[in-house]
C-alpha cells in the first residue's frame, strides 16, 4: 500500500479502515480506508452474485459489461443494427428516387453538396446521399449476416464431421480446407464470383461465405479432437452414452464457443470482403441498391475529384462497423475464455 505505517501497526486491518486512530494522518487513512472498503464491497458483491446459480452465458455477460472495449464495440454494433432495421424511419428520403432539385444541378464537375433538405448532398445520379448511406447499413448487415451464417453452418458441419469421425474422413475434409486456406481469401472470393455467369447479391454472399468456411471448419475440428480426448468424454463413454449423443451433447457444445466468437470476427471480415467485391465491380449490378462498398468503389472513385465525401462517408462507415464487430468479437473471446473464469 502507499502508506506502510498505517498498515504496519494494524493487527486487524478491517477495524483500522473504518475508524482511523488518533495520531495518524487522518486524511490518508480515510482515503485509503474508503478505497479499500469500496473494493471489499465490490468483491463481496461479486462473490455473492456468484453464489446464485449463474450460467456460463450470464457469467460471460457480466464480464463483458465490465470491459470498456466490449461496451464500445457493442454500442457501435447496436447503433448499426438499429440503423439498419429502422432505415425507412430514419432516412429522410427514398434512397432510390432521383430528385429534380438535385439532378438539375448535376454537371460534369459539380455534384450538389449539403443543403438543409439533403444534409449529405446528392450522389452522382441526383439521389439523397444520406438516405442511401442509411439504407446501405441494411444491405451491409444483410450481406454480413447471411454470409457469416452460411459460412458458419457449412464450416460447423464440415468441422463437426471431421472431428467426430476422425480417421480418413478427417484427412480428406481437412485437405479440402487446406486447399481453400492456401488461396488468399479475397482472391478465392473473386474466383468464386467470377465462376458465376451473372453476378448478383447472392453470388457475393455465397463467395464471402465460402471463404470463411475453412476457418470455421478447422477451428471446430481442432477443438472437437481435443474434446475427444477429454476426461468428461471418457466419463460419458464409461456411462454408456451413445456415440451420437457424445458428439452432439458432449463434444460439440464444448467446442462451439471458439467458433461463435470467430463468427463475430468473421462478420467484420465478411463486411470488408463484400465491400471489396463491390468495390472491384464484382458485386450487385443493380444501381438502385445502396451498398457501401459499391458507393465507395464506383461513385466514390469516379467522382473523387469532384466530391470526395462520396468516398469518405462509405469508407468511414465500413471501417467503423468492421471495427465495432472486431472489438465486440475480441471482447467476447476474452469473456468466454475459461481461463478468466473465477
Amino acid at each position: 500500500m502507499s502508506d506502510p505505517t498505517t498498515q504496519a501497526g494494524t493487527p486487524a486491518p478491517r477495524s483500522g479502515d473504518d475508524k482511523p486512530r488518533p495520531g495518524m494522518s487522518e486524511r490518508s487513512i480515510g482515503l485509503l480506508g474508503d478505497r479499500k472498503k469500496a473494493r471489499l464491497d465490490e468483491l463481496a458483491q461479486a462473490s455473492a452474485s456468484d453464489r446464485g446459480g449463474i450460467s456460463l452465458v450470464r457469467d460471460a455477460a457480466r464480464r463483458l459489461r465490465r470491459n470498456p472495449v466490449a461496451i464500445v464495440g457493442a454500442t457501435i454494433v447496436a447503433l448499426f443494427v438499429l440503423m439498419a432495421i429502422f432505415a425507412p424511419l430514419i432516412a429522410p428520403h427514398d434512397p432510390v428516387q432521383r430528385f429534380d432539385e438535385l439532378t438539375k444541378n448535376l454537371t460534369v464537375d459539380t455534384i450538389p453538396g449539403s443543403s438543409s433538405e439533403f444534409p449529405f448532398g446528392s450522389d452522382p445520379l441526383g439521389r439523397d446521399f444520406l438516405s442511401r448511406m442509411i439504407y446501405g447499413a441494411r444491405q451491409t448487415l444483410f450481406v454480413g449476416v447471411l454470409a457469416t451464417l452460411i459460412g458458419l453452418a457449412l464450416g460447423v458441419l464440415i468441422g463437426a464431421i471431421a472431428g467426430a469421425f476422425g480417421g480418413w474422413v478427417d484427412v480428406v475434409l481437412m485437405r479440402l480446407t487446406d486447399v481453400m486456406l492456401a488461396l488468399p481469401s479475397l482472391l478465392l472470393a473473386i474466383t468464386l464470383v467470377a465462376l458465376a455467369s451473372r453476378s448478383s447479391q447472392w453470388t457475393v454472399i455465397f463467395a464471402v461465405a465460402i471463404v470463411s468456411v475453412p476457418i470455421f471448419a478447422r477451428l471446430l475440428r481442432g477443438s472437437m479432437l481435443a474434446q475427444r480426448e477429454s476426461d468428461h468424454v471418457l466419463a460419458a463413454r464409461a456411462l454408456g452414452v451413445k456415440e451420437r449423443n457424445i458428439v452432439l451433447r458432449h463434444m460439440l457444445p464444448n467446442s462451439l464457443t471458439a467458433v461463435i466468437v470467430q463468427a463475430t470476427l468473421t462478420f467484420a471480415v465478411a463486411i470488408l470482403d463484400a465491400a471489396a467485391l463491390s468495390f472491384l465491380g464484382l458485386g450487385d449490378p443493380d444501381i438502385n441498391r445502396a451498398e457501401w462498398g459499391l458507393m465507395l468503389g464506383v461513385d466514390g472513385q469516379r467522382y473523387f475529384e469532384v466530391r470526395p465525401e462520396l468516398a469518405y462517408y462509405p469508407a468511414l462507415a465500413i471501417i467503423v462497423v468492421a471495427l465495432g464487430f472486431t472489438l465486440l468479437g475480441e471482447a467476447m473471446r476474452e469473456a468466454i475464455d475459461p481461463k478468466n473464469r473465477r
Binding site: 463413454r237 464409461a238 457444445p253 464444448n254 473464469r341
Partner: protein, 328 residues
C-alpha cells in the same frame, strides 16, 4: 460364479516404429458380488489401464488387449460394441480421478445425472430430473434442487465427486470401478467420500473395484487387495492378512514407507530404493529385482510364478519376507 472374473488380461501398447510395451501382463483376479477389491500399486504399474481395459474404453488403435474379462459369465472383450455400451453405466460404472474434468463443463449437473437415467432406464427428462434430485440427496449434496441447475465449476470439488458418484450409481450397477476417486481431493473430503462410497456400496450391494496408490484407502475399504507391480499381480491377500504380514518385498516396502505417528523421533522414513525406471522386463526375471532387498539368483532367471500362500492369498516371489516379520 464370480461377478467379475478377469483372466490373463494383457494390454500391449503398440506404436508404429516403437517397441511394444506391455502395460498389463496377464493379470487375473476375481470380484464376488458385493465385495470390495483393491488394485494397488505405484504410478505406471498398470492400474488404470486394467480398469479401462475391463470397461472396453481403451482406444482400438495402438492397443492390443488379450485375455478374458468375464462379467457374470459374459466375456466383455468379445462383446459387440453396442452391447458393451448398453452395459456400461447400467451394470458396470466407473468413477474417475479428477471430478472437475470428468463432468461436462457446459451442462448443468442435473442434466448430467438425468442423462444416464434417460439412456439406460428410458425415463423422460422430467422424471429423470426428479430422480436425479433424490440421487444427489442420497450422496449428501445439500440443497439438491438448486444443484440440479448449477454447472460443475460452481460447486466444490467434494460435491463434484459426490455428483459423479451419484451418476455412476444412478442405475444401481452391480459393479463399480473407482479409479483413484480421492486423489484430487483434500484429506478431510477424501475421508467423507470414502465413507460415502462404503455406505452406498453396502446399501446397494454393488461390488467395488478400488484402484488406488493410497494404502490408507485400502485399509479402510477393501476386502481383498491385489498389489500390482510392472503390470503383474505380485501379491494378493485378504486385507488383514496383507497388513499384518505382507510377504512380497514390494508390498512390505510400501507398508514400511507409510509415515507413522508412533515411530521414534529422528528415525528416517523407510523408502524403496530406486524407481520404476529401474525395472527389468518380466521375461528376464522379477521386474522388482533391481530394487529388492531380498533378491536371490533365481530372481534374475525368469519370472517367478504366482503361487498360493498359507494365508489364503497368492504370492509371486522367490524369497518372500518371512511370515514372522510383522510390519513394524
Amino acid at each position: 460364479m464370480s461377478l467379475l472374473d478377469v483372466r490373463d488380461l494383457s494390454v500391449v501398447f503398440q506404436r508404429r516404429g516403437e517397441r511394444p510395451f506391455t502395460a498389463v501382463d496377464k493379470v487375473s483376479f476375481t470380484v464376488e458380488p458385493g465385495q470390495t477389491v483393491g488394485l494397488v500399486g505405484e504410478s505406471g504399474c498398470g492400474k488404470s489401464v486394467t480398469s479401462l481395459a475391463i470397461m472396453g474404453l481403451l482406444p482400438k488403435r495402438g492397443n492390443k488387449v488379450t485375455g478374458e474379462v468375464l462379467f457374470e459369465g459374459t466375456d466383455l472383450l468379445r462383446l459387440r460394441p453396442d452391447d458393451l455400451r448398453d452395459r456400461r453405466g447400467r451394470e458396470i460404472s466407473m468413477i474417475f480421478q479428477d471430478p472437475l474434468s470428468s463432468l461436462n463443463p457446459v451442462i448443468p449437473i442435473g442434466i448430467q445425472v438425468a442423462e444416464v437415467l434417460e439412456r439406460h432406464q428410458g425415463r423422460d427428462r422430467k422424471q429423470a430430473l426428479r430422480e436425479s434430485r433424490d440421487l444427489l440427496d442420497a450422496v449428501g449434496i445439500p440443497d439438491p434442487q438448486r444443484r440440479l441447475s448449477e454447472y460443475p465449476h460452481q460447486i466444490s470439488g467434494g460435491m463434484r465427486q459426490r455428483a459423479l458418484i451419484a451418476i455412476a450409481l444412478a442405475c444401481k450397477p452391480r459393479l463399480l470401478i473407482a479409479d483413484e476417486p480421492t486423489t484430487a481431493l483434500d484429506v478431510t473430503i477424501q475421508a467423507q467420500i470414502l465413507t460415502l462410497l462404503k455406505q452406498l456400496v453396502d446399501e446397494t450391494g454393488t461390488a467395488l473395484v478400488m484402484i488406488t496408490h493410497d494404502l490408507g484407502v485400502v485399509a479402510g475399504l477393501c476386502d481383498t487387495v491385489n498389489v500390482l507391480y510392472g503390470g503383474k499381480v505380485v501379491e494378493r491377500a485378504p486385507r488383514h492378512e496383507l497388513f499384518a504380514h505382507a510377504r512380497h518385498p514390494y508390498t512390505h516396502g510400501l507398508l514400511n514407507s507409510v509415515p507413522r505417528l508412533d515411530s521414534p523421533r529422528g528415525e528416517r522414513l523407510h523408502a524403496i530404493r530406486g524407481s520404476v525406471a529401474d525395472n527389468i522386463p518380466w521375461a528376464e526375471g522379477c521386474a522388482f529385482a533391481p530394487r529388492c532387498d531380498n533378491v536371490v539368483d533365481a530372481c534374475l532367471e525368469g519370472p517367478p510364478p504366482l503361487e498360493p500362500t498359507a494365508g489364503g492369498g497368492d504370492l509371486r516371489c522367490n524369497n518372500p519376507v518371512s511370515e514372522e516379520v510383522a510390519v513394524r
